[in-house]
């Protein structure tokens, strides 16, 4: 189960988004991921740890290397959650519609 708070926090940083964009192309090692950035490999490793803890990426051991890849389904799960929150807002407004309609009916009642 992914940690949605951690996932969204992880997505709030441009370097981590760029790392995810690179991983969307396929598996990559820390060295490969560090290449486009002007930051150190340990800094990249820290970003990778956050992404891993958030459940967005997974790492496997291959000799001395630990290549990273996107976790299958991670974004689908976030998308599902986002859709749920949008529905929550729509639920609120649908409730307000009913409340306003009920008041309207009551108002008409007293006028008659």
């Amino acid at each position: 189960m992914m940690d949605l708070d951690a996932a969204f926090t992880a997505l709030g940083d441009p370097t981590r988004r760029a790392i995810l964009a690179r991983l969307a192309q396929g598996e990559a090692t820390v060295t490969e991921l560090a290449k486009p950035f002007s930051i150190s490999q340990p800094a990249i490793s820290r970003h990778l740890r956050m992404l891993e803890q958030a459940g967005l990426i997974a790492r496997r051991v291959e000799g001395a290397k630990r290549p990273c890849r996107l976790t299958p389904g991670a974004f689908e799960e976030m998308d599902g959650w986002l859709a749920m929150m949008r529905r929550a807002m729509e639920t609120n407004y649908a409730r307000l519609d009913q409340l306003l309609a009920a008041r309207n009916d009551a108002g008409k009642g007293t006028e008659v």
Partner: protein, 159 residues
């Protein structure tokens, strides 16, 4: 078809529109009177708002506490900045999860639209990162973000 629209504007704004079949006076009251708010501003089914403080005057307090009925919940605090009943509400809010999120400045405009009201809400976040985080975690206001949007963010980063 959903009547709700949510869109981003510039780096730090979020725009929301929704039409209601009631005059601005009623919609204004629904957005400022605690007794009304506790009946609809609840999020997913099963949630309640046991605490609702709304002091609709400049400098007045806002505090909403939500419960999921299973021991979970969170709260929001804020202040009213300016009110022009029944057409305009300006307030600041932050969620406590439990750490406070950066201030969200919200302007709510209510215009008569035929026999109803068009609500236009403009949120202003301190910076683009905060907006991204809010779109992603906004419990109360929901968000527009979608898989397609995430993908376009990624594509943008690759260029």
């Amino acid at each position: 078809m959903s009547k709700l629209t949510i869109a981003t504007d510039g780096e730090t704004h979020v725009l929301i529109t929704r039409r209601f079949a009631a005059p601005p006076e009623e919609v204004f009251r629904a957005h400022t009177d605690p007794e009304w708010m506790q009946q609809w501003l609840l999020g997913p089914d099963g949630w309640t708002m046991p605490v609702c403080i709304s002091e609709p005057w400049a400098g007045g307090r806002i505090r909403f506490e939500w419960c999921d009925g299973k021991g979970g919940g969170f709260y929001l605090t804020g202040e009213y900045v300016e009110l022009d009943p029944p057409h305009r509400i300006v307030h600041v809010e932050r969620m406590h999860l439990p750490d406070p999120t950066p201030d969200n400045h919200v302007e709510t405009l209510l215009e008569a639209d035929g026999d109803g009201t068009m609500l236009r809400m403009r949120m202003t976040l301190p910076d683009a990162e905060t907006r991204t985080a809010m779109l992603a975690t906004g419990m109360e206001h929901g968000m527009e973000a979608s898989y397609a949007r995430l993908e376009s963010t990624f594509t943008g980063q690759l260029k």
